[in-house]
């Protein structure tokens, strides 16, 4: 009886305020799309960081076969040169370098052919076109200059490169994009709260006869307010579902089908990440509706 009655009231309310309900759905849809986009950008940043950022900070490229660099005058880096560099890393830079990975030409070629099975720009490459390198993880990434000073110019070292710097600008861009998205999301969420508040107020106003009688015959507060609460919550959750659908389509067409086809060397967010984000978005929608409903209803349908 109760459930059926509340459901009936709910449907009447949704129908009576159809245009407002639709606007609530749209506003939550747009705002949660921005929230989700910010979330996905952060996920993407996290994935990029996981892949390299924490592993590779400084690459010490050793001389390849034919290098124009003066430190490579003797040709390809010899095992003795490698051993001496390794010694320097252990002793002089022992405090700065936390971890050393050695990547031989063969390792590099393996990684390369995995990514470009057809060769680089149509040219098939061999193991000798590759370059061995030391990958260093620094105790303090800010101390790159010290490492650079010590290693640059040593025989057998072609180039010392702070890879973090390359990624930093990318991460900066991604972070700014996600901040922008979060900012827009904040503004839209505020708009959503205000709109839900207005909608519920209108709904409560158009049903004040009913609620007035309900109060007089002793209906409980929850019973009077539940249809209104559900009205806001359902509209907001529909908006959240639309946002999830929109994000999923966006990720599928923009990232999975297009971006990862053209730039395949990084891992990208996928539909799975959108689905992992979905409960959060629905929870936000629900909270949004619940908060604005409680504020409004306590003012307009108080016993």
């Amino acid at each position: 009886m109760r459930a059926q009655f509340i459901l009936g009231e709910l449907l009447t309310g949704l129908r009576r305020n159809l245009s407002m309900t639709i606007s609530v759905i749209l506003v939550t849809f747009v705002s949660l799309t921005f929230v989700g986009a910010a979330g996905l950008l952060q996920t993407q940043i996290g994935m990029l960081k996981d892949e390299w950022y924490d592993k590779v900070e400084v690459s010490v490229f050793l001389c390849p076969v034919d290098s124009p660099s003066p430190t490579c005058a003797v040709g390809e880096a010899t095992p003795e040169q490698m051993a001496s560099i390794e010694g320097v890393l252990d002793t002089e830079l022992g405090d700065e370098v936390e971890q050393v990975f050695f990547e031989s030409k063969e390792d590099a070629f393996e990684v390369f052919s995995e990514r470009y099975p057809d060769g680089y720009l149509g040219t098939p490459l061999t193991v000798d076109d590759m370059q061995a390198s030391f990958r260093l993880k620094l105790a303090n990434p800010e101390h790159y200059e010290i490492v650079n000073d010590v290693l640059t110019g040593r025989p057998g070292v072609e180039l010392v490169e702070d890879q973090r710097r390359i990624f930093d600008s990318l991460f900066l861009m991604l972070n700014r994009a996600s901040l922008l998205s979060a900012g827009l999301a904040g503004v839209m969420l505020l708009a959503a709260v205000l709109l839900i508040t207005t909608t519920i107020r209108l709904s409560a106003f158009s049903r004040r006869r009913e609620t007035g009688i309900m109060r007089l015959v002793g209906a409980s507060n929850l019973f009077i307010q539940l249809p209104f609460l559900l009205e806001g919550a359902i509209a907001a959750v529909i908006g959240a579902l639309l946002a999830i659908g929109g994000l999923w389509l966006g990720v599928k067409y923009l990232v999975t089908d297009w971006l990862s086809e053209s730039l395949s060397w990084v891992a990208y967010v996928s539909g799975g990440d959108v689905l992992r984000l979905a409960p959060v978005l629905i929870a936000i929608a629900f909270l949004l509706a619940a908060i604005s409903s409680f504020v409004t209803l306590n003012r307009y349908t108080r016993v």
């Binding site: 009886m1 109760r2 009655f5 006869r209 009913e210 007035g212 009688i213 309900m214 109060r215 007089l216 015959v217 002793g218 209906a219 409980s220 507060n221 019973f223 009077i224 016993v303």
Partner: protein, 272 residues
């Protein structure tokens, strides 16, 4: 059943009190007229009984509860003890007569089969048998008020408040409504009716409480609309007025109800 102890109600700070140190007691089963000019505090009294307002000073007791210490989540259960009827009926225009009455039971969570039994019973009692499917605009004013009374009484509350229930009705129709309220009173329901209707008050010869600018100026058993006969002192100690035990002052009240109707009502009550 209803007791006011030195109740003062001030709406706006500094304004004249709407009720000024009013003490009055209404016993179970009484029929009381609340009379006075507009702004005399009649409606404030009813609002205080319903706990739509809280007294500024003093205490209000209704059905054994001290309303000043009643927490707000218990207010619904208080209101289930009180039926209310208004001058403007307050029916829901898009619901039928049956649905209007059933609404009062639905919203307090009564099961469907109870509603299916109780609603036709109460509609029969108020004289609207056979009009269940009509909508309020298809009914006369008197019939609409009967629907409103049915809605107020369907839950068999021990107290019925009526705020000028005959204010919008012609004298003949009003008489019918008064008969109905009298019948409800005879089932043991305490009835408090705020009214301006001189004729009705004079005819009924029930207890009359008169307010004037927020003060209790008269509390008279078997009184008329204007001051006449025995007038109790204004800030009366709780008046114990048991209906039927008053000495007849000669003006015998109009008999509004044949005894058979009363039997019919009480039989209906026992069934439940």
């Amino acid at each position: 059943m209803i007791r006011f102890e030195n109740v003062t109600k001030v709406y706006a700070r500094g304004a004249r009190p709407a009720l000024d140190d009013v003490s009055v007691e209404i016993e179970r089963g009484e029929f009381v007229f609340l009379v006075g000019a507009s702004g005399s505090g009649k409606s404030t009294c009813l609002h205080l009984i319903l706990r739509e307002e809280r007294p500024t000073r003093g205490k209000v007791f209704v059905a054994g509860r001290d309303l000043s210490s009643l927490s707000s989540w218990k207010v619904p259960s208080l209101r289930r003890q009180i039926g209310v009827v208004f001058q403007d009926f307050r029916l829901l225009p898009n619901k039928t007569v049956f649905e209007n009455v059933a609404f009062a039971l639905q919203v307090i969570g009564k099961p469907r089969h109870t509603i299916a039994i109780t609603v036709p019973e109460v509609l029969e009692m108020v004289g609207l048998g056979g009009k269940e499917k009509r909508r309020p605009h298809e009914l006369s004013g008197g019939e609409q008020q009967r629907v409103a009374i049915a809605r107020a009484f369907v839950n068999r509350p021990p107290i019925l408040l009526a705020d000028e229930p005959t204010g919008n009705l012609d004298p003949t129709t009003s008489l019918g409504i008064m008969r109905l309220l009298d019948r409800i009173n005879r089932t043991g329901t305490t009835v408090v009716m705020a009214t301006h209707d001189e004729e009705i008050v004079n005819q009924m010869r029930k207890r009359v409480i008169e307010l004037s600018t927020g003060e209790l100026v008269r509390d008279q058993s078997r009184g008329g609309y204007g001051a006449q006969g025995t007038v109790r002192p204004a800030p009366a100690a709780p008046a114990v007025a048991a209906p039927g035990h008053e000495p007849d002052d000669g003006t015998s009240p109009v008999v509004l109800d044949p005894p058979s109707a009363q039997a019919e009502v009480s039989a209906g009550t026992q069934e439940r």
